[in-house]
Symmetry: C2
Subunit: 392 residues, 2 copies
Amino acid sequence: MRIIDVREVAVPLHGAIANSVVNFAEHTVSLVAVRSDVRRNGRPLTGVAFNSIGRHAQGGILRDRMIPRLLAADPESLLDPSTGLLSPARVLDRAMRDEKPGGHGDRAAAAGAVELAVWDLLAKHHDEPAHATIARAFGRRPAPTGVPVYAAGGYYHPGDSLDRLRDELAGYVDQGYPAVKIKIGGLPLPGDLARVEAAVEVIGDGSGVAVDANARFDRDQAMAYATALAGLGLRWYEEATDPLDYALHRELAEAYPGALATGENLFSLQDVRNLLAFGGVRPDRDVLQMDAALSYGLTEYARMIEAMEAHGVSRSQAFPHGGHLINLHIVAGLGLGGCESYPGVFEPFGGYSPDCRLSGGLIHPGQAPGFGLEAKPGLGDEITALLKEMAS
Amino acid sequence: MRIIDVREVAVPLHGAIANSVVNFAEHTVSLVAVRSDVRRNGRPLTGVAFNSIGRHAQGGILRDRMIPRLLAADPESLLDPSTGLLSPARVLDRAMRDEKPGGHGDRAAAAGAVELAVWDLLAKHHDEPAHATIARAFGRRPAPTGVPVYAAGGYYHPGDSLDRLRDELAGYVDQGYPAVKIKIGGLPLPGDLARVEAAVEVIGDGSGVAVDANARFDRDQAMAYATALAGLGLRWYEEATDPLDYALHRELAEAYPGALATGENLFSLQDVRNLLAFGGVRPDRDVLQMDAALSYGLTEYARMIEAMEAHGVSRSQAFPHGGHLINLHIVAGLGLGGCESYPGVFEPFGGYSPDCRLSGGLIHPGQAPGFGLEAKPGLGDEITALLKEMAS
């Protein structure tokens, strides 16, 4: 098996919205295809993935640095000697050749898309859903039939009202989501608190409502919200402050009795180790949300899960950022805590495909080989166009 | 004053070599020009800068994200209201609009080149060397006439020998450099130690020899080198391990009596705060090497210097990574410890221009307005070509 081509296209996000920090209207995502010389049904076997949501397409880094390195590599050097198939870890190593240490940002998302496309390719080679390939590769038992999922929403809308928010969240309950996450930080505290209380009222209990500040708060705001939210028994309080401010995270963990969630803006094993070493993460309750597609792919992400477990944090406390099919398969394959879902936004990458079933509070991956991205309306067309470009 | 165009070109490094981790043969650097509507001698006033050395050109991030944001901005919003001139901090804020927190990597270098080009433009507007503009902006007295400089080299060469190394270092002494830095980590410890001892012999004293491991070592290697080097009284022991491994840096600081140097792979204020909080930095001896051109520019870099000082580390312990004209002006303008110089390599960006005088162990900036990049052989031609492209 050898790589014969790698292509990237930047795809705009539709249904884009704003959180308290970022407007997603101009955001794009890198859709990446890795084509092999193996033929299946007369066509070259091709793996496809993308670099999650929220940190931009990375066409420059891919075309200027990583794709040329992969195409220049000795094909043998990219294979797992025990299988003769492409090794995601070796592909990652090669994509990262001559990169200096540190600086885990855009590069991590570029590499993540490539590495995950190799996983998609391997799963297609085995003609099985990616979660099965992932479970086997990491020595896990075959994946369960479904993984816990919650609906993330509760954005701020022009002319917003508590009634609109209640209707939105009631809609998620009607669709079968057992829990929700809403944004905070876009209003002064009393207005935000009224929203959170309305959400608790709709869901029936604080344990079904998480809140997300998108790293907006300074120390005093973070602490004021911690005090105000402490009595509500929320599911979790997410990314109050700068994701790299470990000292402040520790202070917050000492002040807030409920679960804290963070990690979606940590893109390397070393950053996660630092959070665990210095951030006051409480093994019995806190939630970690790193996203393989933003952080060098599954090879690095699996090491992050190992580091979590070494710190006493259960993998059931891992809820990857993103709300997309790739993380659904990773959560199922590695036996993690669950997935998020952003109903109706971040299309065509966000959300799940029609062959994924939501029942009993669980989302069940479909049976298509790989991550099943081709089955997703809108995304399937983008993939077809990219593959067609590769053929020409 | 308003920005009318921003352009980037990726320029290959010549005289490229390898350290123990990275081969620079494929490296490129982003040369960035920011053109204003102000005319000087019949031509539009244009600021020029680049994103240092070692972390690649960033044309994708600049063209896809940052340049469009700047050109779409309300021109008034980019001005310092007190001067009516472009504000580097406001230009940076706008270039970073809709970027999520964390992830300080490639993006920091892209933003750094743009922000520094604005400083070059401001200095040209005032018709003065950039160090004068910088000193005034940060409330410093006019810059001294020269700043301490050392020669960085001692790379591994094919068929290398101690005699070749001695000749190289003696050459630096002949050129007037009072101190040197050599690489370690490319040989087993005994071979490296022989090189370091040869260097100490040439310079006459360990206090004139720094060593740089380029973050290559694991814990045991770092500690073994610490033990072996401890008695030599070296100038400093640089980047032994992963630049983000603060716990290991603390351990090393507790074990090694001499100065440690690090920071060239930290690209944000928060990362520097973490190093200071958790890395065991000793205010009385350690050296910090952050590089504005890799870390969002001078606005962010000046905040890093503030954070250092708040921790008790003198600004005379700041020796920016890079060995180029931009950092020469920053060191002079902010009154920092000194600069490095890589004689003969990393051209056309590395090193200083013929109008910079080396005497008494000090390098003296020239009198050209701005960073004086136009006076640098090789780089001047690249700038001329870029400006010509802007005109067309």
